[in-house]
Symmetry: D2
């Protein structure tokens, strides 16, 4: 594929896709889009089209939202009232068109195959996942700052899970002066956390000191903050759950006992859509350049 002369078409998505679109345009690519009629800020480097068909015309690469659909029928288009049926995107699409989408499912795979398109789920791209940890961690910190009446400096904070997001979140919290305790399951992960200077405790033993925390960030995608653990907690503690749904907190029980628990998802797109758009753009360009499609 001649990547330098490819035309992009961005169909729908949140603000991050608007930034992605304009970012591609600013790099000199031809970009057309559809689905941003109600966006508050102007697009400078992108041609806004009156229809999906116009936006797709001549495009060698289509970029669909994250997730590409919310209802299984239409494309996820928060910035337009017009509905775009998923199948509409694939109508009259040339063979070999590259289609990028987030959280691809069987329906999209099937549509792509029928149209002889090359479908890529950008959420499978390691580069994007790794770089997204930064806006995720910042977004989590922004929420913590907004929701508390005390400073992070000097606060007792637990970070559950020490994967990519947990590690960078712990790093930023410690930098801001918080007393960070990392909870994880595996011994070697606890050792790694200790090597970076955190107090590290087996997550199996979280009940022992759980009452002492001002804020708990959870990144573990399983039910950690169950009924029985919540019973041992100080009701002033704030839980911010970053784990994918259904998350790691018994939210109904937390609410019932007056413990504030926030499910904080899709933070890059919400808290830093411009940065998130750039990460997506660089990831997509990287995939195209490497010809991994």
């Amino acid at each position: 594929m001649d990547i330098d002369n490819i035309k992009f078409s961005v169909i729908g998505g949140d603000e991050r896709f608007a930034y992605l679109s304009d970012g591609l345009g600013q790099k000199g690519y031809e970009v057309s889009c559809f689905g941003f009629e109600e966006l508050e800020f102007p697009l400078k480097y992108t041609v806004k089209c009156p229809s999906v068909a116009d936006a797709k015309s001549g495009a060698g690469c289509l970029i669909l939202p994250l997730p590409y659909t919310k209802d299984g029928v239409n494309i996820n288009t928060p910035f337009t009232k017009r509905k775009i049926c998923i199948s509409e995107v694939f109508e009259n699409i040339p063979a070999d068109t590259v289609v990028f989408a987030g959280k691809c499912d069987e329906k999209l795979t099937s549509l792509s195959q029928n149209s002889k398109c090359r479908l890529v789920d950008y959420m499978d791209c390691e580069d994007i996942a790794i770089l997204n940890t930064v806006p995720t961690a910042e977004g989590a910190i922004e929420i913590a700052m907004k929701e508390t009446v005390f400073t992070l400096h000097g606060a007792e904070i637990a970070v559950c899970g020490f994967g990519r997001v947990g590690a960078i979140l712990a790093y930023k919290l410690k930098s801001l002066g918080a007393n960070v305790t990392v909870y994880a399951r595996r011994d070697e992960v606890l050792c790694l956390a200790r090597a970076y200077g955190y107090k590290a405790v087996k997550i199996q033993n979280i009940d022992r000191e759980v009452f002492k925390f001002d804020i708990i960030f959870n990144t573990v995608p399983s039910m950690i903050f169950s009924h029985s653990l919540i019973d041992r907690m100080n009701k002033k503690t704030l839980i911010i759950d970053l784990a994918s749904l259904p998350g790691g907190v018994d939210f109904p029980y937390a609410e019932a006992v007056g413990l504030k628990a926030i499910s904080a998802l899709s933070l890059p797109g919400k808290c830093a859509p411009k940065s998130a758009g750039e990460i997506l753009m660089n990831g997509i360009l990287g995939i195209l350049r490497k010809g991994q499609i």
Copy 2:
């Protein structure tokens, strides 16, 4: 003074004074208060009184808000609709009562002298001023996170002034991965900034690269961001002005040209009232213990 057995009376103020009040109570002091009828959260360790006179009764130490008045007539009481006349506070007050207040003026000094009270402006307390830099810096970062569509990580950020607030703000921003440039006037201050690893430039030369910043924090209490400097700026830059009024930004001109400039004052009380209340409490207790009154 027998500090261990002193009774405190907190008259008015914002949330931070509610936390200050309850903090004293939690430490075992007898505390009564007036002026928090509309506070959302309950006071657990403080006796809410039906009148100023009741609250003052038996108190050896009165604590007034910051600033103690906003209109020069009444005590600053955002959490009650009832008006408390400044002079009312001093009616029938025993001689030698210690009165703490923020931003004391001639009127308060004169009233104290007439009542033979000992007036202390807690804003003159170095400990409080220094510790308040932490919630100030966190509050400024919270605003920056909220108002921007990009991450602080990787952002180009200027900090104008490298006094207490500037220094701790630069430290936290750098910890979060921002590219920080410190602007200051004096050579030795620039050297200090460099010793801590910041790029440091004479503030006289700020016009040269001012267009490159994503965010500019100002802590210098003089007109830095004038008409002519704003003309050289990128209109997407966000200015957060932490300097006391009138501040360091030509706000009307900034607004006229579409540059977002936020005057961010009293951040400790707004962003972290609990921490700010503790800082005030510890400062006040420190002053009493040292007998510096």
Copy 3:
């Protein structure tokens, strides 16, 4: 195994094994040792024995050095002039004795099997490997400080490889104010390095800016600093090679052209034997407790 009542026997090794031995003693274990006659500091909680046989007597767990032998014939005993033949260790040893050793080979495996011992190579223990990155990184920094005439603050430093050691080394160097560039091969590793705020460049392109560095730390165990790369370097640059032998530097050529290149191996034992002994001790106790043998 009744771990609380196990008797340990430490046979040979460098200073770190002396600290390991005394650390076990201080925890209340019975410990005997052989092979530390010439150690400068006294052992307080360890019984020094006159022979290997005495030291082994009654021991349920033997601890051999790292590496357990240097010549393939005798145990590695830098602190005694007496030779301990490897086979001597296994003479009359009870079945089921646990034998810990570093860099086990076929010979040791065979001897263990013949004696029906349970052989464990503690270098296979993830916990130990991870925690050893800390003294390794500090040791590397100590060497850099000693060998240079400039401060790390403000120095241009490259870290080649961003595995465990590379990551923690980069973190410490950046904390000390160095300008750190990370070189790595894989895109996702470069993204990770960027997420932590480092400049990150593909190692394939290291020739482009290699001349600019004051210090280069290599952790990649393959020939990076070859004849042709060295030709492009500033001869004042210091290379510190942390990769296992044969390392990543053409040392003879570096010397020939006057470029200082240091092979820095076994840093934990050399630079922080006490910490290294504790890491080893905790790793060994962890293995015993988990019954992973």
Copy 4:
């Protein structure tokens, strides 16, 4: 003075003055020197002269060592066996020659006045003093790493005094993972240390926990570590005293009881002479440019 065309003459001094000399040469200044016959590395941008008279010839600015003399008679010249009498420097020197020297005394002042020279003590320059804190702190850390058998990571470390050197040293130690306690006298300084995240304790109470430290850095120029305080200390603690002579430690008593105490002075020149030379060079050029002479 026409600073761009000034000729410098460097007379004596340690390695740092060799780097200073060559640094000036590299910037395009004409530089001659005397007193570096035994220096191990070559000077590339400096003319080595056979006599003081030759070196001084045509120079508008003389640079003398730090301290300029050690015996009160001769210039401090560690890199030559030849003696340079102080008065020799001023023989036939043109009026208005600028003479920079370190630790000027009455003798030098008097000689300068007689020769109508303009004498400047570069140690009075704030910029130099501030920037020297960096090599001082790094040098102190290098000593600590060399002298201990444990890692700084996880070590209990006290920093006595929180002036310029104490502050930057505490910052670097904390960055390396040490548990830092700051001791200082004044409350507001303790608050400042707390705002930066250190544990901070009044130095009057240092006896309470002094036994717990692995390393103590002293920057306070008065007798803190007296007979009675040493009696309360763990004899394995290492003291590194950065305070000017006579320092803050009863060294004879420390030695008598087996406590290791190191007086670490002039660290910039010893540990990072190139950086120290640059700091001096920039300081001197700054003074000349500002015409502060």
